[in-house]
Structure formats: C-alpha cells, structure tokens
C-alpha cells in the first residue's frame, strides 16, 4: 500500500454526506410529483400532503448544506487552461487513457463543470421553488411567473439528478475515490494517476 494523502477534512466529509442524504430526500419527494409513475414515493414521506409539506424544507436544507461545502471548495473549481484541455480530451479519459493529461489539479475539468452545473441548479431550484411554495410564498407571485418557476424547477431538478448520477458513477468507476469521502484520504497512486498536478503539489509541500 502506497502512502496516503489527505483530500477531505472531517467537516467536509460530514457536510458532503448531509448533502447526499438531503439530496435523496428532496429528490425522491420531488420525483413523486414529477411523474405519476413515481407518485408512490410519497409513501416514504407520509403520503401526498406530507410530501408536499416536507419537500420545500428538505430542499432549503439541501441548499444550505450545499452552500456550506460550495463556499469551502469553489476556489478550487476555477476553470483553467488545463481544464479546457481535459474537456477536449474527455473521450480519451472516458475510455481509460488519461496519461497525456499531466496538468490535472485537485479537480479535473469535468468535475469543475459538474460543480458549476450543480451550483446553478441549486440556485435555480431555491429561487423557483420559493416562487410556488404553498401556502406561504406562492400567492406573492403572479401566475405567469409561477408557471415559469415550476418549469425551471423541474428542468433544473432533472439536470441536477443526471449530474449526480454522473458524479456517483465516476466515484464507482474510479477506484479509490469513495474513500476520499469516507476516510478522507486517497492513495498516492490514485493522486498521481488522476490528479498529477495536485499530487506534485501535495508531495512537494508534505
């Protein structure tokens, strides 16, 4: 076993899993209303009216916990030239050849793009959700605006869910990733292969 490198602090890991749990709760309760084939999911939340009552609170909590982690990591997610190169070479990465990309830092281009997609979705979900939150805020907005809000809410939720599917799959595919979020550390081999620039930085300092 090679040497381990610290990737996420205890606080970040806890924050991540709180988001994950809230994402599943808000997501499943929202999907219940998205398509009749999934209305049965309301059974997990105590029936239709309870699901309608709980969903916005779960959503707001998800947003707040996401905001906590976002503020912690956003500066690692500025898109650089190396990321643009990663993005143009994405098909090679997906087919298992990332050797040519030696300038990938703490996060690769795909992770960064996904991060910003998630940030955008979270903001749209929050704002649009408030606009038709019964019984408190919906009446404050004209019906035409509420129509737009429900459409954007559903659209951004779908994009977020697809984004999370990609996020989860990437963690399953790239072995040794999940322990970064459970134990907080990754192996040196993992870092050298997937995030070589970050690896150089970490080993130089450490």
């Amino acid at each position: 076993m090679s040497k381990m490198i610290q990737r996420y602090s205890e606080r970040e890991r806890m924050n991540h899993w709180v988001i994950a749990i809230l994402f599943f709760m808000a997501g499943l309760s929202g999907l219940a209303f998205f398509h009749p084939s999934m209305f049965w999911l309301t059974n997990f939340f105590g029936g239709g009216p309870w699901t309608r009552i709980l969903h916005p609170f779960l959503g707001v909590l998800m947003f707040l916990s996401f905001a906590g982690l976002m503020l912690k990591v956003w500066h690692h997610n500025k898109i650089t030239e190396a990321d643009k190169k990663w993005l143009t070479a994405v098909s090679e990465v997906v087919s298992g050849h990332e050797e040519t990309l030696q300038n990938v830092g703490r996060y690769n281009g795909g992770q960064k793009v996904l991060f910003w997609i998630m940030v955008a979705c979270m903001f749209v979900l929050l704002v649009s959700g408030i606009m038709f939150w019964q019984p408190w805020f919906a009446d404050a907005f004209p019906i035409g605006l509420r129509r737009l809000a429900v459409l954007l809410h559903a659209l951004s939720a779908a994009v977020l869910i697809i984004g999370v599917i990609v996020h989860v799959y990437a963690a399953i595919w790239v072995k040794g990733t999940i322990r970064a979020m459970t134990r907080g550390s990754v192996s040196e081999a993992w870092a050298r292969k997937h995030h070589p620039a970050w690896h150089r930085e970490m080993t130089r300092n450490g």
Partner: protein
C-alpha cells in the same frame, strides 16, 4: 366533490392508463346569457346554499362585486364591468365568473396527485379534495384563474357544476335559482345551438359582434357565455384565445418523458461503460507495475 360512480370518468389527474369510461354519457353544458343577466347574485346565494359554503363577510371595495373575488368558499361571483366598447357608448356588463369546465382542463393536466382532479364522461371537471395535496399546480395550470387554495385546509376548491345534482338528473343550483333564465343547462349540443340562436337574436337587435364564448383553445368549455361583444371578451376579463399556457404544456408534456429518459440513459450509460471499460484502478495498476 363526491366521487359518483354514476358519472363515468373521462380523465383523471396523474393517471397514465384509461379511466372507467365504457358507458356513453351525454355531454352537458351550462350556458350563461349575459344579455339576460340582471346581476341579482341569486346564483351566488344558491351556490352557497346548495354547497354549504359561507364565505367571510368582507369589505366593500367600491363596486358591486361582492365578494370581490372567487375564494375557497365562493365558487361563483358576479363581476361588473363599466366599459365603452365604442367611444361614448357606456355599457354595464355583468359576468357570472366561475369554473369553465374545459374539455381540455389545464388544472387536471398540471395536477400531480392521482385522482385529485377528474373529468366525468359528461364533461364536468371536479376536484376530489380528499386526494388533493395542496401544491397549487391546478392554479398554475388553469387558463382562467379559477382554483383557490384554502388557508384552512390547504385544499383546492372551485365550482363543481353541482356534479352531485347533475348525477341524479337535476340542474346545477345556480341554474335552478336564476330568476331571469339567464343561466341554462342541458346537453352541450343543445346549449351550443341555443347560444348561437341567442347570439343571432342579439345581432338583429344591434349587437353586431354578439356571439357564443366556447373557446377552441381548450377544446371548448362546458360553461359557455353568450356575449354581447364576443369579439372583445377581454372587456369582461375573459381571454380572447384561451388555451393552456405553452409553459405548462412544456412542463407537463415534453419535459417529463425527456427528463426520465435522460435519467435512465445516464444510469444505463454508466453500467454499459463499466462493462466495456472496466474499473479505473490506479492502485491495482501500481501494484502490477511493482510486480513486473
């Protein structure tokens, strides 16, 4: 209101399979002839009486409208309009507002709760409050701004076209009580024919643009108006081209299958990718290199 088995179901909210609809039921309609309406509000009283509704006593807002708007306890209101369809020619128009019972109901389309909104075989669109979850999507879906969510129980309410009365062969309460015969009720076919006849009579009497309000955009309605100025329904707060908002259609029509397809494709794509490419295992590769 009540789920009446005698009225067969044409459509049911959040339901993707056909509803029980084997029996043939005649389509019904209510016809409101504004040229015969005197604004007495007897229909409002009859509606309250039959449906056991008592709205809170509100404030006078300076016009005859009382109550000022539809509410969970006021399923119909008379709206009064002082308008000049032609310059210098003041007219006082009175419209009995309430659910239009659309053939293609936007509320039903938008509702996420199975069976909370049904359309009976006879065309009546009814809310079943026991299945209502209080999300307000019906308000978003309606092109006529009709449903109201109760602050008391977070359920949506609107005119039921007295589905309970109609199911046992009676006319709606407002129709029964109208002292001038301004509100008619019968088969949709008869009401369309009668409405057109009334419009022709009004044209003879000088209302050149009189006509039947039965908007095509929502497939026609089961509550229709004979309007003196059918070319300008906006004079009385009715949309000229009533239809379900394209935003609602996009949300409930295009987005749903696309999004589900996208989610399914993402999961399936991941699985296939894993089967084809296999795990991306840096540690195993490092170990192999060491061994060789």
């Amino acid at each position: 209101m009540a789920n009446l088995q005698s009225l067969d179901v044409a459509a049911r909210s959040a339901t993707t399979t056909p509803s029980p609809s084997v029996r043939q039921v005649p389509q019904v309609a209510k016809l409101i002839d504004e040229s015969k309406c005197i604004g007495c509000k007897a229909c409002q009283v009859a509606c309250m009486n039959w449906n056991d509704l008592r709205d809170e006593v509100g404030q006078n807002i300076g016009v005859y409208d009382n109550p000022a708007d539809l509410s969970p306890s006021s399923w119909t209101v008379m709206r009064f309009f002082e308008v000049e369809p032609q310059a210098g020619n003041l007219e006082w128009l009175i419209r009995k507002d309430g659910c239009m019972h659309c053939e293609d109901p936007g509320c039903l389309k938008a509702c996420p709760s199975p069976g909370a909104i049904v359309q009976y075989g006879n065309g009546i669109v009814d809310f079943h409050q026991d299945a209502c979850i209080g999300c307000g999507n019906c308000v978003t879906g309606c092109p006529f701004n009709i449903p109201r969510i109760s602050k008391k129980d977070s359920k949506a309410y609107k005119c039921s076209l007295c589905s309970d009365r109609v199911s046992v062969g009676l006319e709606p309460a407002c129709v029964k009580t109208c002292p001038t015969g301004a509100i008619g009720f019968g088969t949709k076919e008869d009401m369309v024919a009668y409405g057109n006849k009334r419009a022709a009579e009004l044209k003879d009497r000088g209302f050149q643009n009189a006509g039947l309000y039965n908007p095509e955009g929502v497939g026609g309605t089961h509550v229709m108006y004979v309007l003196k100025h059918a070319d300008k329904p906006e004079l009385e707060g009715l949309p000229l081209n009533a239809s379900i908002s394209p935003v609602v259609s996009l949300w409930k029509g295009g987005l749903k299958p696309l999004a589900l397809l996208g989610m399914g494709a993402a999961v399936l794509g991941g699985l296939l990718h894993y089967l084809k490419v296999g795990p991306n295992d840096a540690d195993a590769e490092a170990k192999e290199r060491e061994a060789s």
